[in-house]
């Protein structure tokens, strides 16, 4: 039995972590499944099916978005950054180092989404207060840490004392 042709598909052009990609995707494929299953970038996670948890957060044209809430075809023409792109040169970012030093992760499943949301925040607001961090991360659920050390890590990076 052969894999069927999808009901409808489209070729999209995207830039992912700086690399230009053309790909034919089924019209109904979610962006998160395109990133994970088609591109093999499995750092972006799925934790719910309702857009609540934020584990799938990536940057689309510089903005943090939940990639389970977009179809892949909607990302056509855009520039996408995933967690794998943060330390592209193998050098961890200050935020990634701060997550390690402040023990801001346990199971690590929400971590990619947290990092992408927090990176977007720090790009817009280099020195966020604790409240600003909590507001920026309210769309990302963590079930391990109680957020204490996550918030601490992000604030520390803003204060230049992160890592």
């Amino acid at each position: 039995m052969s894999t069927p042709a999808p009901a409808s598909s489209r070729t999209i052009s995207v830039e992912v972590n700086g690399e230009a990609i053309e790909y034919e995707v089924p019209a109904r494929r979610l962006l998160v499944h395109f990133i994970r299953d088609d591109l093999g970038l499995t750092g972006t996670h799925v934790g719910c099916d309702t857009g609540n948890c934020g584990a799938c957060t990536v940057h689309v044209d510089g903005e943090a978005v939940k990639s389970c809430m977009l179809l892949a075809v909607q990302a056509d023409g855009s520039s996408i950054a995933t967690v794998e792109g943060l330390a592209a040169e193998g050098e961890l970012t200050a935020l990634q180092r701060a997550f390690n030093e402040h023990h801001a992760l346990q199971c690590g499943y929400c971590t990619p989404g947290m990092l992408m949301s927090a990176t977007a925040l720090l790009e817009q607001n280099a020195h966020p207060s604790e409240d600003e961090v909590r507001i920026a991360l309210q769309g990302n659920i963590c079930r391990c840490t109680g957020y204490v050390n996550i918030v601490e890590a992000v604030v520390a990076v803003g204060e230049g004392t992160g890592a």
Binding site: M1, S2, T3, P4, P26, R28, R29, H33, R36, D37, G40, L41, T42, G43, T44, H45, V46, G47, C48, D49, T50, N52, C53, A55, T82, V83, E84, L86, A87, L92, Q96, F99, N100, E101, H103, L105, Q106, C107, G108, Y109, C110, T111, V133, R134, I135, L137, Q138, G139, N140, I141, C142, R143, C144, T145, G146, Y147, V148, N149, I150, V151
Partner: protein
């Protein structure tokens, strides 16, 4: 770079080229070294089960019942099979032919229940899988599942345990009753204690609600079948594979060695990933039937609806004896557990609470009449604090209700009745031993953190703003390293007792120390803490210790009870690591002594070298030399000396026997202490509870890595606050779950969490290999203290009694509107 082995002949010197390891101070145990797991995880380079791909794999989607209780009249998969790209299906009828029912823990009547991997002839909870479809893509599998036609004939639905107890509708005909198990636990003389008390406080009903810690990664697996060897490999996130295999192998009519469990990174567990055997058996059958790897990733809605909830318990007819001076003499209670549609692991919940029978208090007379029933709700499984949390919530509720009714100070009554530090180790009325701790001192730390002296002043200040302020304490125990022999209290025929965990440590050819664990971490940092222990024992840096990720049955480093559950890693997991590392160390010393021609007593392992203490600088062998001599350059070793530098150790704690008549015995070995304290403000207009100040004090003995311990305290507290204020699995009368996703089932977000203050003390365990107690499940303290704080806040507004463990705004508002209906629940008989 080969080590010189002419030293065996006593010639030459240590002419060995080495990359000398970094010289570091000893004593990694007790240091908050940053976690070794993080580097991959912060780059998105962790490997979770859903990241594993295989050529030609099929995606599985379950067809689930929309009814909570119904007969299955017919299942027609033909339309699904016609869809191009569908690889195949499986139904309950096939499951009934190819597998045996899972074994049941309980005696009759629960022991007669027949539980298969898919519904056979009847569904008993909404979302129960009745068939599964496998297809080329996730989307197609879902489409095809929609094409499976199932005809149901609805049956009456039971969503209330007390209704279920009446047996007017029977869920499992084979059992003939909805009761799974019942038994009376009676220690001391509770009737005498009540008769001699100056006050008897009676509470009609308390309810511990249904929720789960809902790990962010849902359940799932990729399963491969090897037709030649008839072996299955499960790339999965089961957190207790040892017991998973015990469930699965007999059902699949195969040997336990035919099931290879592989876990890598796991996205949280909390106990919810212990009961995955039904779904995994379906995957095994499909992989064999279709001759291809099959993959299933549970959807969030399915996880909430039909995976496993934490167990729900109703406490009835509570009577508590209190002396005039506030000394509590004992209590009796009728407990009714609702395990949902199938008991599975859950009959153990009928007895596991007994690890903490008296809570933290010195009362000696306790009677618990315990019954567990099935209902048409999701099955349950262990959930962080499993079964003990429910019971400890009861003891804490009792303390605070007694305090409210007899006008006693909650701090004073606790300190008066706590087991005292000078009584440690303390034997409970049922023969458990609280190993160490100082509850009153831990409470004092919490009170200081929360500035207890200012509560009345803050209460006035809040009142001026129209808010009701309340303060509450939650004292709780995290009992760890359980004795599976307690299962014989449930069913004397069960052949389980004791506990075990395994690890292996070897020194490899280039001097790398390699550790494999039987445990199955889900975020607890086992790679880091194991490396700290091994580094201290072998005298090297944690960076020289490679702890392999996850669990793999083929590592051969597991034991029958392997897994991460029941707060035991610090004892059995690290105990196994320690044991294996010490065996390796002894052999390294022996080998170095032979090479350096020195007595063994003269050899020390330090800084990555085996050397002669106070000897010349060149009398030192790097680990690499030792590894190479044994593994690659061993012709010169004498024939009667055969070091392997590769050691497996099983940590098997001693428990003694359980007395099934008296229901006594050492049910668990370590007891970590947690004292939580909360200050809440309630808006009387809306019933919204705001936690404005919070402290958690943890005493888990020696902390291998204090930062990891504190992280566990934070996380457990977040679970407790979520459970106490919003997380609840609510069913309608049709048995439909109303809170099936993260919209309706609200877990704490960053904005919901109050600032947490943490404190700690270390009362080393006299029984644990490293003095370290298992910990991480003490979050129940948060539920207890929030309930107490709400009750305190409501004292000036009608004095309502908090009767349930979950208090979202609508429930608090109701208590404000009608405090009397809650007060009717409580009475005091004074003499």
């Amino acid at each position: 770079m080969s080590p010189s082995n002419n030293l065996l002949q006593g010639q030459g010197s240590t002419a060995v080229e080495t990359g000398a390891p970094e010289v570091l101070e000893k004593g990694y145990i007790g240091q908050s070294i940053p976690r070794r797991e993080d580097k991959r995880l912060v780059q998105g380079l962790g490997t979770f089960f859903d990241d594993v791909r295989r050529h030609g794999m099929g995606y599985v989607h379950f067809v689930r019942s929309p009814y909570a209780h119904a007969k299955i009249l017919s299942i027609d998969v033909s339309k699904a099979l016609e869809l191009d790209g569908v690889y195949g299906t499986i139904t309950g009828d096939e499951v009934a032919i190819h597998t045996d029912p899972f074994f049941e823990m309980s005696v009759e009547p629960g022991g007669n229940i027949k539980d298969y991997a898919l519904a056979v002839g009847r569904v008993r909870h909404s979302g129960e899988p009745v068939a599964a479809v496998c297809a080329a893509t996730r989307e197609l599998a879902r489409d095809a599942a929609d094409l499976v036609e199932v005809e149901y004939d609805p049956l009456p639905v039971l969503v209330d345990a007390e209704e279920s107890l009446k047996d007017e509708t029977i869920l499992h005909d084979d059992a003939g009753s909805n009761t799974v198990w019942s038994g009376v636990f009676d220690w001391g003389d509770v009737d005498k204690a009540l008769a001699e008390a100056d006050h008897v406080v009676k509470i009609e009903r308390l309810h511990f609600h249904r929720f789960s810690s809902t790990p962010l990664e849902c359940a799932g697996a990729l399963v491969e079948y090897d037709k030649g060897t008839a072996e299955w490999t499960l790339h999965c996130n089961h957190q207790m594979p040892g017991v998973g295999a015990i469930w699965m192998a007999p059902a699949l009519r195969t040997g336990i060695d035919k099931l290879r469990f592989v876990t890598q990174d796991i996205g949280g567990g909390f106990g919810n990933k212990i009961c995955l055997h039904p779904q995994y058996v379906v995957l095994c059958l499909l992989a064999r039937k279709l001759g291809r790897p099959v993959q299933w990733t549970e959807w969030r809605t399915d996880q909430h609806t039909a995976n496993a909830h934490g167990n729900e318990r109703t406490f009835m007819d509570i009577e508590v004896g209190v002396k005039a001076d506030g000394t509590m003499t004992g209590f009796k209670v009728r407990a009714l557990d609702d395990c949902g549609a199938f008991p599975r692991y859950e009959p153990l919940g009928c007895i596991i609470w007994a690890q903490v029978t008296p809570g933290m208090y010195g009362w000696r007379n306790i009677r618990v009449d315990f019954t567990q029933v099935c209902t048409n709700k999701s099955p349950v499984s262990p959930n962080r604090g499993y079964s003990r949390m429910q019971h400890l919530w009861l003891t804490e509720r009792i303390i605070d209700i007694v305090a409210t009714e007899l006008d006693l100070d909650p701090v004073v009554i606790r300190k008066k009745n706590y087991v005292k530090t000078e009584q440690m180790p303390y034997e409970t009325p049922n023969g458990c031993f609280y190993d160490s701790g100082d509850y009153a001192a831990a409470l004092d730390i919490a009170l200081e953190l929360i500035d207890h002296g200012s509560i009345e002043e803050r209460r006035k200040e809040a009142a001026a703003r129209g808010k009701l302020l309340g303060f509450g304490i939650g004292s709780t125990l995290d009992s760890g390293t359980n004795n599976f022999g307690q299962s014989t209290l449930l069913n004397p025929d069960l052949q389980f007792s004791g506990n075990n965990e395994a690890a292996s440590v070897k020194l490899d050819i280039f001097g790398e120390v390699v550790v494999t664990l039987g445990t199955v971490p889900q975020g607890q940092g086992h790679e880091t803490t194991s490396s700290q222990v091994v580094a201290d024992i072998l005298g090297c840096s944690p960076d020289q210790v490679n702890v392999r990720r996850g669990h793999d049955t083929w590592f051969n480093s597991h034991a029958g009870f392997s897994g991460t559950y029941a707060s035991q890693f610090a004892f059995t997991g690290l105990g196994a690591v320690k044991g294996a590392a010490e065996l390796l160390r002894a052999e390294m010393v022996q080998l170095a002594a032979a090479v350096l021609q020195a007595p063994e007593e003269a050899i020390e392992l330090a800084d990555g070298f085996a050397r002669i203490k106070d000897g010349p600088e060149e009398a030192a062998l790097p680990f690499m030399a030792l590894g190479a001599i044994v593994n690659a350059n061993n012709a010169f070793l004498p024939p009667d000396f055969n070091p392997t530098l590769n050691h497996r150790y099983v940590c098997r704690p001693y428990f003694g026997m359980v007395d099934t008549e008296k229901k006594t015995g050492q049910l668990t070995l370590t007891y970590a202490t947690q004292i939580h304290a909360a200050v809440v403000e309630i808006d009387p207009e809306t019933g919204v509870v705001d936690v404005v100040d919070y402290a958690a004090v943890d005493d888990c003995g020696i902390r291998i890595n204090p930062q990891i311990v504190e992280g566990q305290v934070h996380g457990a507290t977040a679970h407790a606050l979520g459970a106490a204020l919003s997380e609840e699995f609510v069913y309608d009368e049709e048995g439909t779950l109303l809170t099936s996703n993260f919209y309706d089932y609200h877990v704490p977000h960053a904005l919901d969490m109050p600032p947490l203050k943490t404190g700690s003390m270390e009362s080393p365990s006299p029984v644990a290999p490293l003095g370290a107690k298992g910990m991480g499940e003490g979050g129940g303290g948060g539920i207890h203290c929030v309930c107490a704080a709400i009750q305190d806040a409501l004292a000036s507004a009608g004095k309502a009694i908090v009767y349930t463990s979950c208090n979202p705004p609508h429930r608090v508002w109701s208590m404000l509107q009608d405090p009397e209906s809650t007060r009717a629940n409580v009475s005091v008989e004074s003499r």
